[in-house]
């Protein structure tokens, strides 16, 4: 799969009331990431929580869902 590279958090939330498929994941952070080049994608944040404007790096796809982590 493609490496999405790094990007900036455009917006985010922490979900506490999940859909049926994700009841075991809560709470989880969901974010819209603006990638280099301007394209936006919705993905999950792993590790430390992030805020709007912070830099994140792509880690991997899990079940076609892109995961990102706060850039060090």
């Amino acid at each position: 799969m493609t490496n999405l590279g790094s990007g900036t958090v455009y917006t985010e939330t922490v979900v506490w009331s999940p859909p049926e498929a994700y009841v075991n994941d809560v709470p989880y952070q969901l974010a819209i990431i603006e990638l280099e080049g301007g394209r936006r994608i919705t993905g999950r944040i792993e590790g430390d929580r992030v805020q709007i404007g912070e830099r994140v790096s792509f880690t991997e796809f899990r079940n076609n869902v892109p995961f990102f982590r706060k850039s060090s």
Binding site: Y10, T11, E12, T13, V14, V15, W16, S17, P18, P19, E20, A21, Y22, V23, D25, P27, Y28, L30, A31, I32, R40, I41, T42, G43, R44, I52, G53, N63, N64, V65, P66
Partner: protein
Amino acid sequence: MRQVAIVGIGKTAFGAFADRDLRSLAVEAGQKALEDAHAKPSQVEVFNLGNFAGPSFVGQNHLAPYVAAEMGITGIPATRFEAACASSGAAFFHGVSAVAAGLYDVVLVTGVEKMTSQTTPRVTEILAGAGDLCGEVRAGATFPALFAMIARRHMYQYGTTREQLASVAVKNHQNGAKNPLAHMRKVITMEQALNGKPIAEPLTVYDCSLISDGAAAVLLVPFERAAEFTDKPVRVLGTAQTSDYVALDEKEDITTLQAVKTSAQKAYQMAGVKPADIQFAEVHDCFTIAEIIAIEDLGFVKKGEGGPYSLAGRTCLNGELPVNTSGGLKSKGHPVGATGVGQICDVAQQIRGEAGERQVRRNSLGLAQNLGGSGATSVVTILGAA
């Protein structure tokens, strides 16, 4: 194009009704609208049913003839309209179009949803079907999460605060407490609203509308025939439906819902009025942030000023622009497929001077705004006194 009138309105109570099925709710609302217009089922020439997810919530499909036949209505076009939470707004828009075009004279538009027979995680999943399943929903987005992300961005760009969001909930519960058909008829305090259980940060349970059962209906005829049905017709001055991208991450600026702006512009133009002329409105407060964005995108206030305007009480029942005098989706309830027509009934009720202790004084020009998904469908309707 012919002028269209609403000559009958009918609503069930909104709430959690374990003993009621989808069809009985839709039939009750439709019969009330017909009775209100002194009309017989045999006079109905078209039946439009707004319903978002009956097949998922209750398993039944082919809903429009299923409901119509139970009312004794057969032999006519009976069609279900699906546009997420704007399903019955869309059913209404197309009903008005048919009458305005001169194709039909008597059109019954009903909206219905039966949601409470499912668990909250299951309801959350069914509602998420109004989002993009291959992108945002697969990543774990729920509708509260999508609007939470809109709220975060609105806070970031315009300094909107938690108190401003909460003030919408407090105000809508004040109104809903006075509405005999509302789902949650209780007032809440600012402190409660600020300290609710988190659903999707920064939204708490008090920022979210309710999971409800209910139905609403209106009867439409050409204005020139209104007197055959009622002595209190309400004029449909303008109605417009527009679309946009389904996925939130495809919208250029998520603090503005483009479909709301375009549908509002078209409806204002059709009605020949300006935002400042509107005296009161029912807007789609599926979440508190949605009401703040709605009053901005409808042109009542400038972008970014919706929060301060709400917190200052200007949208209260006795404010300069009463918004959601019914209690809104927050307190009145949100049986999603019924919401669009429900709002139109609420605006019509105000124009007819029948809103009881919620009655607004300036009641000759009102607006209803019905939103589907995170803004992929918007229907704006402007109603006026005859």
